[in-house]
Symmetry: C2
Subunit: 292 residues, 2 copies
């Protein structure tokens, strides 16, 4: 099976994978998740994703019910059951199923659902042209209400932002904070290039601390390039010569327009292309060292 | 069956009611819901709940896939299948199941899940003593990010607030806005009594426009009592002679303490008890007129 779903370890065809409607993920979005992919048979940056999953769970007081090592072994077992290289893998952990009652302190058994499927294909042309994005009118959840740094099952904020983008015929949306600063895309981090430096919203700025972003930061620093963390506005970003985006699935992709304003000369610039190349090299090295 | 679940019209025992893990409610909390109860065989304020469900759905661009009249008939059909009076009924409508992809503009068939079960029992003593609540440190979702007036499947904000209450040995939590104003409880509206008036946060104040609250307002006005809508702080509320809460399920319940500060003389006062009595009379009249 190229595509499969595992529920608490039991493997199903996608069309047969069902969960109780009393699951708190279904009722309230009361769960956490991670997404990564394999290159060949190696799950990329798996330790980082597992670490972040446990951190997200800890912040909402959810007991995953197994150790990091057990989960890592389990994810490889399920991944390998698909018997295909280059898989998308998503792990969702909910607080489990029980009576209908918001109380998160009732002791329930978590439900762990793992999706293995084809890596979603971006049109390859987008890497040559860059994406068209908008700044959504809906604001990013502030961290005092629903911390964007908890990767949870509450994704309506991001969904509504993406819905705005689709209505405006754009590919995707970036979200702004109540303070007017750029935070992050709907499922990716964003950067602008300025005076030869890659500029990113600070870790504490209503963003998810992206794992790809962390790797990108390491790559930039170890290659002697400039990395700056500071707040910036959409207007400032629109004047930058380059804007780019990253995630585990998209890797590094340029941004062509923001709110119909053309960025730079309207195609991914040298800083974007160089970073995309360095990221690919990093991935290749990472997977070679962990070949199985 | 006293307790049952209907999924797209098909009735299941609760333990057999399962939904695809590709449902967007499960993956992202991408759905809306309502809760009401029957008194005898009459679903209380059903038209209001259905109207609010459609409004919530409209605000997130979700197509429920049937008319209000069809849904009303369907809810009665499912309710009656339980063959018991005095039921709790919850209807959840998700954007349906499809590929894993945040995009809400893909045309999917909504999933409609209806839960019928016993009305959750509050300890009757709580109506005599009042509840102990806290003001949660987690702030209410601001409406520019995730409108509390959309009754959606994204309930982590409320869950975390209730979790704080449980840790502090309180019954429940009220949430405060970034501006420092009292908004609402985790699943109920809140009021303070001041100079003989019932004081409630304004409709546009990061709250769900409660249906019970609307009825309460009508009752107060039609009985010649004073109703005031204005913002107030937790400190102001703690000095009020009475604080009370309402919801479809709890009806009218007094608040005994807020953050361990005793309200009034520490038991539900005359304004609370009078309103509880008038609400019961309203319900009796409502159900008598609609007896079936």
């Amino acid at each position: 099976m190229a595509d499969l779903v595992a529920i608490n370890g039991e493997i199903f065809k996608p069309e047969d994978a069902r969960i109780s409607v009393f699951d708190r993920g279904f009722l309230y979005g009361d769960g956490v998740y991670e997404v990564t992919r394999s290159y060949g048979r190696v799950l990329f940056a798996l330790e980082d994703h597992i670490e972040r999953l446990y951190r997200s769970a800890d912040r909402i007081g959810l007991d995953i019910g197994m150790t990091r090592e057990e989960l890592s072994t389990e994810l490889y077992r399920i991944h390998d059951a698909a018997q295909r290289p280059d898989r998308y893998i998503r792990v969702v952990v909910t607080r489990g199923e029980g009576k209908i009652n918001l109380d998160p302190t009732t002791r329930l058994q978590s439900n762990i659902v793992v999706f293995v499927q084809d890596v979603p294909a971006f049109d390859p042309k987008l890497y040559e042209t860059g994406q068209d994005i908008i700044t959504a009118s809906i604001l990013r959840n502030p961290k005092k209400s629903l911390d964007p740094n908890v990767k949870s099952g509450n994704y309506l904020n991001n969904i509504l932002a993406l819905g705005e983008a689709k209505k405006r015929k754009a590919h995707d949306a970036v979200m702004v904070s109540a303070q007017g600063h750029v935070t992050e895309g709907t499922t990716w981090n964003i950067y602008m290039v300025q005076d030869g430096a890659y500029v990113s919203t600070p870790d504490d700025g209503d963003i998810l601390q992206g794992i790809t972003r962390k790797i990108i930061r390491d790559i930039i620093k170890s290659n002697g390039m400039k990395w700056v963390e500071r707040f910036f506005t959409p207007d400032e970003m629109k004047k930058a010569p380059e804007v780019l985006s990253t995630s585990s699935i998209r890797e590094v992709m340029g941004i062509r327009t923001v709110d119909d304003v053309t960025i730079g000369n309207g195609r991914p610039g040298p800083a974007t292309l160089k970073l995309a190349q360095l990221y690919k090299e990093y991935v290749t090295r990472y997977c070679k060292e962990r070949a199985r």
